[in-house]
Amino acid sequence: MASINKAVLDLKRLDLLANNDSVIHRLDARAKVLVTCVFILCIVSYDRYELSALFPFFIFPAVLIALAGLPPLFIAKKIALLCPFVLVVGIFNPVFDREVLVNLGPLGISGGWISFASIMVRSILTVGAAFILVGVTGFTAVCQALERLGMPQVFAVQLLFLYRYIFVLSEEGGRASRARELRSCGRKGLGIRSFSSMIGHLLLRTWQRAERIHMAMLARGFTGQFHAYRQSSFGKAELLFVLGWSALFVFLRINNVSRHLGTLITGLFT
């Protein structure tokens, strides 16, 4: 599947971004996870017709992208691939919710369109926050942070295994898929028969690999307990980061800065 192929490539790139060095990258992962959570909760806590109050929240991704030196275009492109489900569900809002909510001169805008726009803005902010979190932290660190915030170790460890072997196995899957396409002249060979035996073989190979990995672990003295080696700590910088951003988010949540600003401007011209 081309889209998954591309997704894995993007995943590699996102993963490499996390190796950058910046003020944000150096922070303890827990701080970044916590701030992201507060951010997302603030966003989703708005009611469905809220649009203007969401905009000030763009300050968070903007500042983080800048400070961490992430490529803004890459992030924007990733966000543009927004979960199609949101779009499909969201587009029904203008259909079912036709009541005019705002009159811009002769133009009446229905509540449906406003809530649809709100859904899209929410999507951009929440999905963007997740990407940025990975880009400035790295998956491994996010995972370890979650573990230190209480995620069970078994879950954390197998999550790391999963992440590690996505790269190996998706290459294997991609190779198998290409080999079949090359020999299947059009669509004839792409039926479920060849599919199931391919997946079956891939599964058996994967199973054997898991056995070898386990063997490699035993060979290096594994006894069932994972010993973590941790370096970073939650210090003043982290505390400042968490409190600072959280305070800003709560402030923005309580005060619709957009509206205040807008009122101020329109007030100036009337």
Binding site: Y49, S52, P61, A62, V102, V154, L159, L202, G262
Partner: protein
């Protein structure tokens, strides 16, 4: 289909998060107590396998479109419910972080919809009883098909309930259900076919793989109850938090009655250019989420009366906020203007920061 942050209210999102997190904790404990440390790398690698398997697809006969493996049920068959649940949750976590599938808050819902149903309903209650101790080709196909369809139907229904209970989307419950369930019937049949095909293959090639789950299965009925308890406790806790929040706004119910009466009033003046305030009230009364709250409530009650009632209360509180927000929309023009300005400001701030860092 993945639930998304943008369609979720915090109450629903947090409840589902609590439920999923509780189940993850419970399953992790189970896996740890099983003392089968071999399973940990296996779970991870099989999770990665799901991604790899999705790169290979096949042509669905007579439709021309192509399908691929979802994987939830297959993982349950290979790993048993607890390990499979963790593996599915991990796949979803990676999808949320890297592939823009949903988002972090919606992860709770997604883990619930796509994890609980295949691992704790479809596999132990449908697949295993049909398969029994002596699998045959026919049994594998029938069991996979029924189990896959059931878990996807339940999952889709979960998405509908969560979306509707959140009230961000305007899709009425009935419409949404009639859209989602048939689509997922199709997806479920494809998933059943694929799962059956892969399981039959493995059964022929290395039957011992499929047997390694069986002994742990003996206590399945009992442990499902435990999972249900975990889920209930988690939702009770969250429900408690929400209800405290809701009790600070005791006028929720009162306002909802007003809303109903307000509706008639406004209908009288419909068609005229109306005062914005009035139109908002009408709008609020027509809010689909209000009308479909009725059919949805009894469903929640069967789940757990107390928490459902609390969610209901919380919804009404947010309904009150809606009105307030609506009032504010009177100044939407300045709101939009200001919004655009802050957007520009945010962008400019980022740009300046970037320049300064680049220069440094």
């Amino acid at each position: 289909m993945h639930m998304a942050d943008a369609l979720l209210s915090p109450a629903v999102g947090c409840t589902m998060w609590a439920a999923s997190a509780g189940t993850i904790a419970y399953c992790s404990r189970k896996v740890r107590l099983e003392m089968d440390e071999k399973k940990v790398p296996l779970m991870g690698v099989l999770g990665a396998f799901i991604f790899a398997a999705q790169m290979i697809n096949f042509t669905i006969p007579a439709t021309g479109s192509s399908g691929h493996l979802g994987g939830g049920l297959l993982l349950a068959i290979l790993l048993g419910p607890y390990a499979a649940f963790l593996s599915i949750a991990s796949v979803l976590l990676i999808q949320a972080l890297f592939f823009a599938d949903g988002g972090l808050l919606a992860l709770g819902c997604n883990i619930f919809n796509l994890g609980i149903f295949p691992a704790f309903i479809a596999y132990p209650l449908i697949y295993r009883p049909i398969i029994g101790n002596r699998p045959t080709q026919g049994k594998i196909v029938a069991a996979s098909m029924i189990a896959a369809v059931t878990s996807l139907q339940l999952g889709a229904f979960g998405v509908v309930l969560e979306t509707v209970a959140s009230g961000i989307s305007s899709l009425p419950f009935a419409t949404f259900v009639t859209l989602m369930q048939p689509i997922h019937l199709g997806i479920g049949i494809v998933e059943g076919l694929v799962t059956a095909a892969v399981v039959s293959f493995v059964y022929k090639a290395r039957p011992e793989i499929l047997q390694c789950v069986t002994p742990a299965q003996a206590a399945a009925g009992y442990s499902i109850r435990n999972v249900a308890i975990v889920f209930l406790v988690a939702s009770l806790l969250t429900g408690g938090v929400i209800s405290r929040f809701a009790s600070e706004h005791p006028d929720g119910l009162e306002w909802s009655i007003q809303k109903v009466t307000g509706k008639e009033e406004v209908e009288g003046v419909k068609g005229q250019l109306h005062v914005l305030m009035a139109s908002l009230q009408e709008k609020a009364a027509f809010l689909p989420d209000y009308s479909f709250k009725e059919p949805e409530t009894p469903k929640e009650v069967t789940l757990h009366p107390a928490s459902a009632a609390r969610i209901e209360a919380a919804d009404q509180t947010s309904g009150k906020q809606e009105k307030d927000e609506g009032n504010r929309l009177g100044t939407t023009v300045s709101g939009i203007l200001g919004g655009l300005m802050t957007l520009v400001l945010a962008g400019v701030t980022g740009f300046i920061l970037k320049k300064r860092i680049g220069a440094a």
